[in-house]
């Protein structure tokens, strides 16, 4: 049984049928990527998994337990934690307060302290800027903070929505190095990316989403060789 199993999920925005029966699964310790063009439904899939959108049909199971009946904050305490698109840092809270908010579901102060140390270990820059207000960080630092904030909750599955969006190439490399590092630590990640090239390098498997449905799914290696993927998402001819 996979850790996270998404089965035949249909999500609507009003009358718009945004997800038309998406199924995918993520095994423990694996990085799975979801690639696709703008508006293909990638973010919608993550929002549905986090409970921000309610699927009309289908199920999302974590270790066999259906999550679709829970509210977003309950899903976080179940272990599915999202790094939202566009980072969504609390701009008026300090870096440290942002991280504390990430650990909101954890009540044991020692656990919070050790998570904080882990995040500071991953991103030493955040330790230096602890007292700074989130809104004053650079784009790259904000992405680090958003990732660190999600890690504070001890996620069993980390959902990452476009972590490289709007970042300079050198920062994109840093973010993907972090993802590799998290993978080495055993974190399970479902990664949504427009930068399909980078995503397929770190992931073990991938799904290609088109107009709200999975059109291709295979190992990352095979997808990289695939004719359609190369033309449509890797920009090769």
């Amino acid at each position: 049984m996979a850790l996270l199993e998404i089965e035949n999920v249909h999500t609507y925005y009003g009358h718009i049928h945004a997800l038309k029966g998406v199924s995918l699964d993520v095994d423990r310790g694996e990085i799975v990527t979801l690639i696709g063009a703008n508006g293909a439904g990638k973010s919608t899939m993550l929002k549905t998994a986090s409970g921000l959108l309610r699927p009309r049909r289908g199920s999302i199971r974590l270790e066999g337990e259906d999550l679709t009946r829970y509210r977003p904050h309950e899903i976080v305490s179940k272990g599915v934690v999202q790094v939202p698109e566009g980072r969504r840092i609390f701009g008026r809270l300090t870096v440290r307060e942002n991280l504390e908010m990430g650990a909101f579901t954890i009540t044991d102060p020692r656990q919070i302290e050790s998570n904080l140390e882990r995040v500071f270990g991953l991103f030493p820059r955040l330790r230096e800027r602890q007292k700074q207000v989130g809104g004053t960080l650079s784009g790259g630092e904000q992405q680090m903070l958003a990732t660190g904030r999600a890690l504070m909750a001890n996620p069993s599955v980390l959902l990452m929505d476009e972590p490289s969006m709007g970042l300079a190439p050198v920062l994109v490399d840093i973010i993907f190095d972090t993802i590799r590092q998290l993978h080495a630590d055993g974190t399970t990640i479902l990664l949504v990316e427009q930068n399909a090239r980078m995503a397929l390098q770190v992931a073990s498997r991938g799904y290609v989403l088109q107009s709200g449905a999975v059109v291709l799914s295979d190992t990352a290696e095979t997808l990289r060789q695939n004719e359609t993927v190369r033309k449509a998402y890797l920009g090769e001819s």
């Binding site: 904050h73 609390f90 809270l93 307060e97 909101f104 579901t105």
Partner: protein
């Protein structure tokens, strides 16, 4: 260069600046004339300032509820003035019972604490019910709808409490230990004013450190900034909104007792003017901003208390004190014209409404 200026300044701006300028000239002229005649001595001014501080700290406590609810829900809770009214009105019956049984004179401190607790509990209960029944079902509705609901809820509460307690004024019993004066370096302060200022200062400090330092306080700030992301952090949005109403209700209930101690009476309509003044204070300080509400409240109280004598007396206006409300609301209009974001307010464009 001149063309660019012409394009940017509209005739409306010019008129607004003229009005503002005229008011400033009037204030300046009035103040100089008043000071030149020397009708008031230093002691008078000192009394005005202390009264203004006491009045202002009550406004500040009420303003806290407006500003925090605005921060988290982006709505003006116009029923907050009734949250303020119902606490001291209910506590009046406790106070009256204590008074007639002699308990109030025997154990004044215990009695006062009980009166505060009853008032704060009532206000909190009403605030929480208001959120649950009137506002929560409308959370996703367009912004005008909860606003109209708030006004409706305000009337509902006013007349409900009139139904409970009648439409007359009730005189709050006199607490003996709060009567009389204390003297500081030759300046006399009425005891109850000193108590009002001290109590309000303690409450505001407690509230501010709650919001700044505790886990719940930080979560409330996070929710105020971005509800969706807060939910993704595992924060229960509804719980934080209820907590905000609890805090607002508690500070309004406490402010209500302080108000009753100062003016010695309660009435079902007593919330209206202080409520609107506190709303003015919240706007003055920058709505959504907690230190701003404190500052705005105290500033408004001071201007209202010092202003009539200082600005208007010298202009030959008889009984200028009658015009204190006019001064308060003129200030609101001026703030809305020249600095709509308030003293400490941030630019609204940054926020997602």
């Amino acid at each position: 260069m001149l063309k660019r200026w012409k394009k940017r300044i509209t005739p409306t701006d010019v008129v607004m600046w003229l009005i503002g300028g005229a008011i400033l000239v009037l204030i300046f002229w009035g103040s100089i004339a008043t000071l030149a005649t020397g009708t008031y001595t230093g002691h008078h001014w000192f009394d005005f300032i202390i009264f203004g501080l006491a009045q202002g700290s009550i406004y500040a406590l009420i303003a806290m509820g407006y500003t925090m609810v605005y921060g988290i829900l982006r709505m003006i809770n116009f029923a907050h003035s009734e949250v303020f009214m119902c606490g001291p009105y209910t506590a009046y019956y406790v106070a009256a019972a204590f008074y007639s049984s002699g308990f109030l004179d025997q154990y004044p401190i215990v009695s006062l604490i009980m009166i505060f607790l009853v008032s704060m509990a009532t206000s909190t209960l009403v605030a929480v019910l208001l959120e649950r029944i009137a506002y929560r079902p409308l959370r996703t509705a367009p912004r005008l709808i909860p606003l109209i609901t708030a006004i409706g809820a305000s009337f509902f509460l006013q007349y409900t409490f009139r139904g409970f307690y009648g439409s007359g004024f009730q005189a709050y019993p006199v607490v003996q230990i709060l009567e009389g004066e204390i003297t500081f370096w030759g300046f006399r302060i009425l005891k109850f004013q000193a108590v009002v200022i001290a109590a309000a200062a303690i409450l505001m400090a407690a509230l501010y450190s709650f919001v700044q330092r505790t886990r719940l306080g930080k979560a409330i700030r996070a929710v105020s900034e971005d509800k969706e992301t807060s939910a993704l952090m595992g924060i229960d949005i509804d719980r934080m909104i209820v907590t905000t109403f609890v805090i607002g209700g508690m500070s309004a209930g406490a402010a209500g007792v302080l108000y009753a101690l100062m003016f010695k009476q309660v009435h079902f309509f007593m919330g209206f003017i202080p409520g609107i003044k506190a709303f003015t204070a919240a706007v003055l300080g920058g709505i959504g901003n907690i230190p701003g509400a404190m500052l705005g409240g105290i500033f408004l109280g001071l201007v209202e208390s010092v202003g009539p004598s200082l600005f208007l007396d010298g202009l030959g206006i008889v009984a200028p004190y009658q015009l204190k409300d006019a001064i308060a609301f003129t200030m609101l209009v001026l703030v809305l014209i020249f600095r709509p974001t308030g003293i400490l307010g941030e630019r609204l464009t940054v926020k997602k409404a």
